[in-house]
Amino acid sequence: MNRSNQTNLRAKARLIYDYIQENLYLNQPDITINNEAFNSALLMSLLVGLSRGKALIIGEPGLGKTTSVEYIGALIHRIPLGTIWQAEVSGHPEQTEEKIVGRPDLGKLNLGEEYVIWSHFTMLPIKIVDEINRLPETKQSMILNGVDRGNWEYLNDAVINREYCLFATANYQDRGTNTIIAPLMDRFDVMVESRHPGANLAGTLGTNSDHEVLLRSEKLETEFQSALSERTPYKERMEKLDALSDQFGDHLSNESQIPSLTREERQFVHDQINQLPFDVDFEAFLRMVIAELSFCHQYGQKRSGEICNDGCHFTGYLCESTKNCLSNRFPKSVRNLSRALAWLLGDRTAGLQHLEAVLPFTLAHRIRWKDQYIVESEREYRDDPVQIHMAKKAVQQMMRRYREQANRVQQALAVACRVAEGEKIDLIEGDHPLFHLIFKDLGQEIP
């Protein structure tokens, strides 16, 4: 595909966003990037869909958490809503591996053959786990590998998804919910809130015709059902699904002029996103963020069980306020989403503005704050749930520090590059964990 195709695809992706925003998911814009206003839940879901990521959507019951991602999935992957509903996994205490992943073919098992019937959830490229925090903690562990790598195992068989994105929704804590275990939480690229659209928009609900019907086709849903239930190899079934998806895409564009993406187009978008370069500010600021959230002057690095003492030289940096260390999935999530955002906005590089926009949502579920900081933030006037609010505040703090010393940080990293290549020059000192980590990485004594 050439450059004009790339522009067309970007326009198509924007059309999908606009169509859902205007017709299917009532919402208010709550973030501004490059002077354009977006709704964070919808934007992040779209970016996750395009970059094959994983998103956790939180919010009150009935505020469009599940439906918004169903629409995104239906239009990006050209799958009828009915099929998506069939493949959804509901979180509840009685959920089992046999219902989520796959079950043995009992008929064949009686004959002594071991054959796995994979669930539709496992097979479909769009995966939705509804109310994931109603799954007991022990059962959350069952989907860790699948969530992480698209690798689903049952008995001695396995399915590795060639393309997938995963959305999970979670209500706020009530009597029926459980804590989402830290390893599962870390596997989500973003956590975003599906918010109330406001009384004025909500008051218009039910007055217009139901656009949801347009994303359905009973005939094709039946054919999808048959294709998914076939006892053929995964690859063959996927080829059939692709053909059916194209039929559904044609149905959408012919009947209702609704845009959607073919498999080749999705692959092209994915490749384009992965080729976008990062600018120097992005690289430097990302390192500052990782340094602040993984560094501990007293114990070498942050560890969940080790709480550092008061009076450390780095008091005031975020390492003082957090309990845990950032995982290596964090930079991957940030890079993927920043690139996807830059691509969607038509920028040639992923830069500081993209990073600043995605950081709060990639950090919110990954940072475990010390109790005293949560208590302080809980009572502040705010627009977001406390985790996202605290992450936004943290990003603002780090951004202020970066703007104050951007030149020095970049110079320090440039000098470090030369020292790593063997040049004999003095490293640059500074008052941020990043400067200390540069000295440490290059085996030099911290002055």
């Binding site: 970049q410 110079q411 440039a414 590059c417």
Partner: protein, 233 residues
């Protein structure tokens, strides 16, 4: 091993203004650390006793009949002897340290700017600084003490011939005590016991003449009347 900093290879390293400043700061820090370490080696018991004398009520000054142009009253014999010992000890301690006029200025700033430090810790840095001044190769010293939270006592102690100190700001007690041929010019106010035990040299007070009655009384109280603008011996 992969170079983790390769993304920053294209950034030009500005060596011109970066490295000299860093080196200067680092070198300067080492000298300051040495000077402060040696200061802490002074006889703390002697320092405590001298500080106690400095903190006594002001009427002792008047009762002693001290006058800056007269001989040393008896009440000052022991304090001056103690100051002399601290000074001599300071000279020994700094013997092997290489420093510049800027280092002396930085030390003054470090000890003078902070109000939170106890007077016992910094109250007699004036003696130590006087020792540094006398042992320094340079002969001209200009200090700006405006904005300092603590006043230096004993500045110009035993200032030798050929040395000149100009102070913009206020000094504490015993300014120019036992002056030994040097020149001390103060553009500010002085505490009590100025020029005590001065043998030769010149102390000049170039600040505006005291205009308020309180200030005039204070000068008289300290044995430094308003009419005295210069003490030469």
């Amino acid at each position: 091993m992969k170079n983790p900093f390769s993304s920053f290879k294209k950034i030009a390293v500005k060596s011109g203004d970066r490295i000299p400043l860093d080196r200067y700061v680092r070198k300067n820090k080492q000298v300051m650390d040495n000077l402060l370490t040696q200061y802490q080696c002074l006889d703390q018991d002697m320092i405590q006793k001298l500080c106690r004398f400095l903190n006594q009520p002001l009427h002792h000054v008047r009762e002693s009949g001290f006058h800056c142009t007269n001989k040393l009253p008896e009440i000052l014999h022991i304090p001056m002897a103690r100051a002399g010992k601290i000074y001599e000890h300071s000279r020994q301690l700094i013997e092997h340290i290489t420093y510049t006029v800027d280092d002396i200025k930085n030390l003054c700033t470090l000890t003078g700017l902070s109000k939170s430090v106890k007077p016992e810790q910094t109250g007699l840095t004036g003696l130590y600084i006087s020792a540094l001044i006398n042992a320094c190769d340079e002969s001209y010293f200009e200090f700006d003490f405006q904005g300092h939270q603590q006043e230096l006592h004993f500045l110009g102690f035993r200032l030798e011939s050929g040395k000149k100190i100009i102070v913009n700001g206020n000094l504490g007690c015993f300014a120019g005590a036992q002056l030994n041929g040097g020149e001390l010019i103060v553009n500010g106010t002085l505490g009590s016991w100025c020029a005590a035990g001065m043998t030769k040299g010149r102390i000049k007070i170039t600040s505006d003449e005291p205009s308020t009655t309180d200030h005039k009384r204070q000068r008289w109280f300290y044995g430094l009347p308003v009419s005295v603008q210069e003490i030469v011996r």
